[in-house]
């Protein structure tokens, strides 16, 4: 698939979203160093084309669920980055009022059902969202993002089975970055991910996750099937993970040469620039302007987050229930 199917404006928007995710993550990594972001976080840098390519095929009211590495999916689904940055800083103005943090960012207004601290836990929840869509007749579809590590959790297989027997409008997007935390996927995974899904008669598509256009095409086929009542699809998306498992991971299990090559050869942003250049739809200078605008937006988000108050202490015990006593 080529860049030609998009308008100039669409291409710029696609680039802007990918660039926003990249710079959001790089900036978060930098801010972690100041000590102002509590705890740790899992960065999505390198995988941007997967989230953006898939979410580009979705309606505003479609559902997604995410993983511990969830910032990219949230941004791609339209969650406000000011709120997200404030959430990472643990502030009251955060997406979840500062009570969720990086691993629990959710925004139901955007159909974002939550990042998740438990590997593969989003898969059955997303089946439930797809069941709601099906029974309420809304025409919505649901996307469960998961990593290669999630494929070895039993609930993933259970979710494949449930999605197929109930013919749910769902797409499982397996973002395979080659590592479950610090362990190479090849060391811990038997067989093939696509064959696992195919054994449930779920159609699969294997995709290069550094090529937004391939992801977009594959997601389009899957979303169309889901919306038409054709049931689940599984996308196996191969992506690079630029950072270690989490922000504090020195990532010594990969060699410096490997990591340099990964960034050089597997960069969805470079790839995108190359592809649009070939069709002469967008000037590189225009993309540079986007870069500057993104930079300013992220600066603003960080400044606002840092200036925002922490949640009031009373928030400690609110929102546990809708109504308890």
């Amino acid at each position: 698939m080529s860049a030609l199917q998009f308008s100039r404006e669409e291409l710029i928007n696609v680039y802007r979203t990918m660039r926003t995710i990249r710079r959001f993550e790089e900036r978060v990594m930098q801010e972690m160093g100041t000590g102002d972001i509590p705890g740790n976080t899992h960065l999505y840098a390198g995988q941007e084309a997967s989230a953006v390519g898939v979410c580009l095929q979705l309606r505003d009211d479609d559902y997604i669920s995410s993983t511990h590495r969830g910032h990219g999916h949230s941004i791609a689904k339209g969650v406000d980055i000011d709120g997200m940055m404030a959430e990472l800083f643990g502030r009251a103005s955060g997406t979840c009022g500062g009570k969720g943090g990086s691993q629990h960012i959710a925004d139901l207004r955007k159909g974002m059902l939550g990042a998740n601290g438990i590997v593969a836990a989003g898969a059955p929840i997303t089946c439930g969202a797809a069941l709601s869509a099906k029974l309420l007749g809304t025409g919505q579809v649901a996307v469960a993002f998961a990593g290669d590590g999630a494929m070895n959790e039993g609930v993933m297989s259970e979710s494949f089975n449930l999605a197929k027997i109930w013919m749910l409008p769902i797409i499982f997007v397996i973002e395979d970055n080659g590592f479950g935390e610090a362990t190479a996927n090849a060391h811990v995974s038997a067989g093939s991910f696509t064959r696992r899904a195919e054994s449930y008669d779920i159609p699969t598509i294997e995709v290069d996750g550094t090529d937004i256009f391939s992801v977009y095409a594959a997601a389009g086929e899957a979303v169309e099937r889901a919306r038409a009542g054709g049931g689940p699809t599984m996308l196996h998306v191969h992506v690079p993970r630029y950072y270690g498992h989490y922000s504090g991971d020195p990532d010594t299990y990969r060699t410096p040469e490997e990591k340099a090559a990964m960034r050089r050869e597997r960069d969805c942003l470079t790839n995108f620039r190359q592809r649009v250049k070939e069709v002469s739809l967008v000037e590189m200078a225009e993309l540079d302007t986007v870069d500057e605008a993104v930079e300013a937006e992220i600066d603003r988000a960080v400044s606002a987050a840092r200036a925002a108050p922490f949640p009031p202490l009373a928030a400690l015990t609110t929102d546990v229930y809708v109504k308890y006593l």
């Binding site: 955060g94 959710a106 601290g117 929840i125 709601s132 089975n161 546990v320 308890y324």
Partner: protein, 335 residues
């Protein structure tokens, strides 16, 4: 008022609420029994006959027989609750929560809090619990302490047919995740149950028997045991009051404290294992908040710190008995 079984009371609540609210759906293993086979439909009406007739009334889209796959369907129920449905999911035996606890404990219970109050999860998880059916260690536990411990969950344990219906209707209409535990040895018990709909608020204990000499706090099936103990005590001239908290989360602390203040002697009877139990929790509450009103130590009559055994004589010895409760009461009155 009509006499109905505990089972029928639950069945009426399910029929009523599914008829009233099209967003209510049910999912679980063998809710009907016979799905996909050529013989009788609704062959089981649920493993204990609680869901009989719902398939005919509401059809297979809303009454969903699931694979034996609790992690998937409890998770799906949680996700459906988050996105506009009001699912009732059934875990056939609460012991099976072991394979889907993540979806209950880390997901459904915490959505609202983690999402900053911007979500609600109107989910009911029904499950059978309790010993007495000669079913060994994995189909018999009283695991409500585990759920009671988890903020975000509500835990309901009815002891009578009347309460079963009213509490289940409340559970389905509630906007928070509710664990609704049905003691399998109570299904055939009979009591007065109105034909119409009514709800019983959570966090309101029931005074099951008035009395002045000793307060017996009992949950679920243990209310029957407490009542039998009270009859034995009455024969000895001791007047026992019985309080059934009905929900362990929220817990009606006010009623427990008020009666403890008045009576001053307390026995807590609990079918769960004793460590970190509801009995231990209530005992701590009373010791903390009304120590000065206590005329004697609080006595706990519980199952031992052991799994539920299979051999009938051992299982009978496992379950707190009326004799043990009466003996505990007598020991703190005659000291």
């Amino acid at each position: 008022m009509a006499q109905k079984s505990f089972r029928q009371a639950l069945n009426e609540a399910l029929h009523f609420e599914m008829g009233r609210d099209p967003r209510v759906i049910m999912m679980g293993e063998d809710l009907t029994g016979g799905a996909g086979a050529n013989g009788v439909k609704d062959a089981w009406g649920g493993p204990f006959g609680v869901t009989r007739g719902l398939l005919d009334a509401f059809g297979p889209e809303r009454i969903r027989d699931t694979p034996i796959s609790e992690a998937a369907f409890i998770g799906a129920a949680a996700g459906a609750a988050l996105t506009g449905l009001r699912p009732i999911a059934e875990i056939m035996f609460v012991d099976f929560a072991g394979v889907c606890l993540d979806q209950i404990m880390n997901q459904a219970a915490k959505f609202r809090y983690m999402f900053g109050g911007r979500a609600k999860t109107p989910l009911v998880i029904r499950a059978t619990y309790g010993a007495g059916s000669r079913s060994g260690s994995q189909h018999t536990q009283a695991l409500y302490p585990i759920f009671t411990h988890i903020p975000g969950l509500k835990v309901v344990i009815p002891s009578t047919p009347y309460d079963a219906k009213g509490l289940l209707l409340q559970a389905i209409r509630d906007d928070d995740p509710v664990i609704f535990l049905e003691h399998k040895m109570l299904y055939d018990t009979v009591g007065e149950v109105p034909d119409g709909a009514y709800t019983i608020p959570f966090g309101e204990a029931r005074v099951a028997r008035d009395g002045k000499d000793v307060l017996i706090v009992a949950i679920g099936r243990m209310v029957q045991v407490a009542e039998e103990a009270a009859r034995k005590l009455a024969a000895e001239g001791i007047s026992a009051c019985i309080i059934d908290p009905r929900t362990t989360s929220p817990l009606d602390e006010d009623t427990l404290l008020e009666f403890t203040e008045t009576i001053g002697r307390v026995v807590i009877v609990d079918e769960a294992n004793p460590r970190c139990s509801v009995a231990a929790d209530i005992s701590a509450l009373l010791a903390d908040k009304c120590f000065d009103a206590l005329k004697a130590p609080i006595k706990l009559v519980t199952a031992p710190h052991a799994p539920v055994p299979y051999a009938p004589n051992l299982e009978d010895a496992y379950i707190p008995s009326a004799d043990a409760v009466a003996k505990a009461a007598t020991s703190i009155i005659k000291r």
